[in-house]
């Protein structure tokens, strides 16, 4: 908020303020309660909401968004942003589809998807860290580039004929559990470990919170910044596999605009755009809340127009609650 001096808690002025103890619960964003409330309402009002298949559905439907939102959390922790994810996801998906159709090798195809994702991510990071162009601008640009590529590569046609080895990644089961759920859990655990148990993660917080501290500690922050964006690209590329599997096709506009939903989910999860203040599991909650809302409203057959408005109210409402809870 503009009128509050940016200085924040580190400014000498804070000397007068009593130091608040850091209790995890105090950092739980309003969205957690919203999620709980939604679940109760839907459990009471709609048949089949609590039905295991349906719960699995919610998880599976949220997986792709989660795969974008997790690295997006890290990027936003560095006070950055990535507007290109949706488009990169799309281009990765069509490249994967095209490769698998041409070569018949899913491994090669996945490799290609990961490569193009990582390439875009690296470009975003490099232009941000080394050319010092604001990430918003960089990724707005690469968004257009990726979108154009997807359309040119496919001439706006969908590419079909995915082998079982690809579709398995969305439709298949492992030990009786839908693969996407396993992917989602694995992805979260991996990102959690990365963020909270490695140098990389520590430096992500530092990049957003106090880059000078990093420099004084003799750490090359720029490399890690590029790394964060590259990681985002890589995860996006992998999400391309699930997207392709889900449609058993590559489609040139399938995921346009998904990055905005990812950013919204991250914000819902209580991660702020400043000072590297965020919480990875909050992002999971944010993604699930949107998923549960859509699913529940579908089960109830609520008109689509109401759904659209409801999502907006959710985003604004949850953040409003959070801002009420944080002293001005």
């Amino acid at each position: 908020m503009p009128e509050i001096p940016r200085a924040g808690p580190l400014a000498p002025a804070a000397a007068s303020q009593p130091a608040r103890a850091s209790v995890r619960w105090s950092r739980i964003p309003g969205v957690a309660y919203t999620l709980a409330a939604l679940c109760v309402v839907f459990a009471l009002t709609s048949k089949g909401f609590l039905n295991p298949t349906n719960l699995a559905n919610i998880g599976m439907q949220s997986t792709i968004l989660l795969l974008l939102a997790l690295p997006m959390t890290l990027i936003i922790l560095t006070e950055g942003i990535d507007l290109s994810m949706g488009a990169v996801l799309t281009v990765a998906s069509v490249v994967l589809a095209a490769t698998v159709v041409k070569t018949g090798s899913p491994v090669l195809a996945l490799g290609a998807a990961l490569a193009i994702g990582a390439a875009f991510g690296f470009a975003n990071g490099a232009l941000t860290a080394w050319v010092a162009i604001p990430p918003f601008v960089v990724t707005l640009g690469t968004m257009g580039i990726a979108q154009g590529l997807a359309l040119i590569l496919t001439d706006a046609q969908s590419i079909v004929g995915m082998p079982e080895s690809v579709t398995w990644w969305y439709g298949g089961f492992l030990a009786g559990i839908p693969v996407p759920l396993l992917v989602a859990v694995a992805a979260y655990l991996a990102m959690h470990a990365l963020l909270y148990h490695t140098r990389f993660g520590t430096y992500v917080f530092a990049l957003g919170g106090n880059p000078d501290a990093l420099r004084l500690a003799g750490v090359r922050g720029d490399f890690y910044l590029v790394g964060v964006y590259a990681l985002g690209g890589l995860m996006t590329g992998f999400a391309g596999l699930l997207l392709t599997a889900r449609m058993s096709a590559g489609h040139p506009t399938a995921a346009i605009g998904l990055e905005f939903e990812a950013i919204a989910a991250v914000a819902l999860g209580g991660t702020s755009f400043e000072k590297g203040n965020g919480w990875l599991f909050g992002t999971v909650l944010g993604v699930l809340t949107v998923g549960v809302l859509r699913n529940g409203l579908n089960l109830l057959g609520i008109p689509s127009a109401v759904q659209v408005a409801a999502i907006g109210v959710l985003v604004i409402g949850a953040l409003w609650v959070d801002s009420l809870r944080t002293p001005g």
């Binding site: 154009g148 109401v306 408005a309």
Partner: protein, 323 residues
């Protein structure tokens, strides 16, 4: 103190005009190139044509420029255009009064903008998220209100606003230059404009200098909304019809135009004039690609490259004026 002056850079002419100068050169270069490759380009009609297409983009982007000048953002302008246009259109049909319809359209746009401003200032929600949430809400209302129908066929006197000519020049072009003038006057020649720049450059200093920053921010978002409302009227008048999805493709190009126009995301730096040039550059590219019948699929790609290039060159020129 004289030795203090030594070593300070001589700041010959204010960076903004310089920045616009560079961009105008770019525009000129593009025009020459297009004229060489397509004989259809340098025809009077096509020039008007480019200007008319730039008009809609500029009207939308001009309001957005003020928002970005305060280090804010408004992702809801596209949705805003859709709702305002549909409301204005249906009311016009129902009452047969263009004036009433237009008034409601403008009012609707302004209201949405004002709410954005309140969410950003009073509810302290980051502009990105607040206006993104607003985008969904407004879309929802539009879909519900229109229920998939199209409103079309408006009185000729109203449609002249979009498709009419005066002295052989399309009305929207006049509107574009009118609001360019108004925008420049507001930003450069009013105390409010000065305060808005100050709020963008340093909100704390602005507040401690007695600038009512909340009121100015709400004003800025409301103006952005109002311009969206106005754009929606031009839209309505040009297409003589409106449905729920017209706004979706407008927001990002508008933001791109502002950035290409040299307005800084960090606030305090930029001009409405620059945004006009930005809008012209974008329109020229699309126009040229159409004239040359290039693959339309590559349009987003080209736009993306231009955005990055423009901002990068901008940084270079600023660095030069600074060191």
């Amino acid at each position: 103190m004289s030795e203090l002056v030594a070593g300070l850079p001589k700041h010959d002419w204010s960076g903004e005009f310089k920045a616009i100068g560079y961009r105008l050169l770019a525009v000129a270069a593009m025009c020459i190139a297009l004229a060489l490759v397509s004989d259809a380009f340098l025809t009077w009609n096509n020039v008007l044509n480019v200007l008319r297409q730039a008009a809609l983009l500029f009207l939308l982007a001009s309001g957005l420029t003020l928002v970005i000048l305060t280090a804010g953002l408004d992702l809801s302008v596209g949705a805003n255009v859709a709702l305002s246009a549909c409301l204005a259109g249906t009311v016009m049909k129902a009452t047969g009064s263009p004036a009433l319809g237009a008034a409601l359209g403008l009012a609707c746009g302004t209201l949405i903008g004002a709410v954005n401003g309140l969410l950003v200032t009073k509810a302290r929600i980051p502009p990105f998220i607040a206006t993104y949430g607003m985008l969904w809400v407004v879309h929802g209302v539009t879909y519900w209100y229109m229920a998939g129908s199209t409103v079309h066929g408006f009185p000729a006197n109203f449609r002249a606003l979009g498709s009419g000519y005066w002295l052989g020049i399309p009305i929207p072009v006049y509107l574009m230059f009118l609001f360019l003038a108004i925008g420049v006057l507001f930003a450069q020649r009013t105390t409010w404009g000065q305060e808005i720049y100050a709020v963008g450059a340093n909100p704390v200093a602005a507040r401690l200098s007695g600038v009512p920053i909340h009121r100015r921010l709400v004003l800025v978002y409301a103006l952005s909304g109002a311009m969206a409302g106005l754009a929606s009227l031009i839209f309505l008048a040009r297409l003589n019809a409106a449905e729920g999805d017209i706004g979706e493709s407008l927001t990002l190009p508008a933001i791109a135009a502002v950035l290409i126009g040299g307005t800084s995301l960090f606030g305090g730096i930029g001009t409405v004039g620059g945004t006009l040039v930005g809008a012209l550059i974008l329109t020229l590219v699309l126009n040229g690609m159409n004239l040359l019948a290039l693959n339309p699929n590559s349009q987003p790609l080209v736009t993306g490259v231009i955005v990055i290039l423009a901002v990068y060159l901008d940084m270079l020129t600023r660095k030069r004026t600074r060191s």
